[in-house]
């Protein structure tokens, strides 16, 4: 490996091998190393910095690894100039990639426990590698419940995988939306309303939550009301990550840096800051 490859500030070249339109405003990029060098291992929940040349760089969570090719998958919502440029990339195009960075979901801590996963909107993408990790060792865990909320049915990600997760692995998967037309036969209501509808033992459960902070806040409250303790609740945070290695301070959150100490945190570790107004 040359010196540049070891420098976390220097992007490596990656080629887009496949693009998938996931929803009306989100898409997945499959990426392979341009020089065919080994793709670095990553932990579920970690993120990469993706660089659209001439436009900018954004932190994007890894949403999986392609089964056959081993390509990295990133699922992205098109919300700004960089993500818009990334959405224009086609097969064969090149981008810059730094990473993986940050902390991971606590898969080991879930062993012999029930697991509740709560996702909101694009938040299912950073959780999907954790779901895959649980599925790989399904017999190591008790009940697994995935509760997923979005604005509308058209915003729901990875819906084709839900049946496999339910049928093949016996996972409780429930989705809900804020509002819907009559075509939708599923649940309508906020994601927290799904919590009483799944079975888990709150004393022996680990929860992983990813979504907008307001959604995570109310999900945590509902989990605590169900009898879960704070130290078993894990969340993933997002701030303005720039360097991704704790140098620049853009993503400082209280005494922590989201990029280096997070993005996955045990809730009780950041609780005082999470509940501080304007932080």
């Amino acid at each position: 490996m040359d010196n540049n490859a070891q420098d976390p500030m220097i992007p490596q070249l990656y080629e887009v091998t496949r693009t998938i339109r996931e929803t009306h405003d989100s898409f997945s990029l499959y990426l392979n190393s341009k020089d065919d060098s080994d793709i670095p291992e990553f932990g579920p929940g970690q993120f990469n910095m993706l660089y659209a040349f001439g436009v900018g760089e954004v932190p994007i969570s890894i949403s999986g690894r392609a089964e056959k090719s081993g390509n990295l998958i990133h699922t992205i919502r098109n919300v700004g100039s960089v993500t818009s440029a990334l959405s224009d990339l086609k097969r064969g195009h090149t981008l810059g990639l730094r990473g993986p960075f940050g902390s991971s979901w606590p898969i080991e801590a879930c062993k012999k426990q029930d697991v509740v996963i709560i996702a909101g909107g694009i938040g299912l993408a950073p959780l999907r590698p954790a779901i895959y990790a649980l599925l790989e060792q399904r017999d190591q865990f008790g009940e697994i419940a995935i509760l997923y909320g979005a604005r509308q049915p058209k915003d729901l990600l990875f819906t084709k995988e839900f049946e496999t997760w339910r049928g093949k692995y016996g996972i409780q998967v429930k989705a809900t939306v804020d509002s819907a037309d009559r075509e939708w036969k599923g649940n309508v209501g906020v994601v927290t309303t799904l919590i009483p509808r799944v079975s888990f033992d709150p004393i022996h459960t680990v929860a992983m939550i990813c979504g907008p902070e307001i959604m995570m806040k109310f999900s945590m409250l509902a989990l605590k009301q169900s009898g879960m303790s704070e130290e078993n609740i894990f969340i993933t945070m997002e701030r303005n990550m720039k360097c991704a290695v704790g140098f620049c301070g853009h993503c400082q959150f209280g005494p922590t840096f989201i990029c280096k100490d997070g993005p996955v945190f045990a809730y009780n570790k950041i609780k005082p800051f999470f509940e501080t107004r304007d932080l």
Binding site: V58, I60, I76, R77, V79, G80, T83, G120, G121, I122, G123, G149, A150, R151, D155, T176, D178, S179, A180, D181, R182, W184, K185, G186, N187, V188, G189, V190, T192, T193, P196, R197, G211, P212, I214, M215, F218, E238
Partner: protein
């Protein structure tokens, strides 16, 4: 076959209700079933019933003028449908349509209201079960209004 009283007693809404109240409540109850697509009640109708859902799923819809109906909430097994029967002017706020085969206990709101007025302890029992649900619905509505699934890339 389970008795009506046993079904009411085992529904989460009336969990741990004292037997003397259970008897009063069951006196206003009947078994009902709705096929998928059936309307259970319509917006602005008089709210004379509420339902303990035993099985199935019901959509609560608003029908804005000149727009398609919008589902704003679904109610499923173990939950209740309708609280307007207890609050003047006793009018339904939404359309309620069964999304799938739905079995429920229908409670006659007028009957139960009368019993609650005659026996305030029963009224307290019913309201102390109803208010947390109304509170949760309000909280859920506030969350929906804040668009909690907003931008995250």
């Amino acid at each position: 076959m389970k008795s009506l009283e046993s079904i009411v007693e085992n529904h989460p809404f009336f969990k741990d209700l004292e037997p003397r109240y259970l008897e009063l409540v069951t006196g206003c109850a009947s078994n009902v079933r709705f096929e998928a697509g059936n309307f259970i009640f319509r917006q602005n109708e008089e709210a004379n019933q509420f339902y303990l859902i035993r099985q199935g799923k019901v959509a609560l819809e608003v029908c804005p003028p000149n727009r398609d109906p919008v589902i704003v909430q679904t109610v499923s097994e173990g939950e209740i449908l309708g609280w307007a029967w207890m609050v003047p002017p006793y009018n339904c706020h939404f359309d309620a349509q069964a999304l799938e085969l739905t079995r429920a206990i229908q409670l006659d709101g007028q009957c139960l209201r009368k019993k609650c007025e005659e026996d305030h302890s029963l009224g307290y029992q019913v309201l102390s079960r109803l208010l947390p649900i109304i509170g949760k619905n309000m909280e859920a509505t506030q969350l929906q209004l804040t668009d909690i699934y907003g931008n995250r890339s």
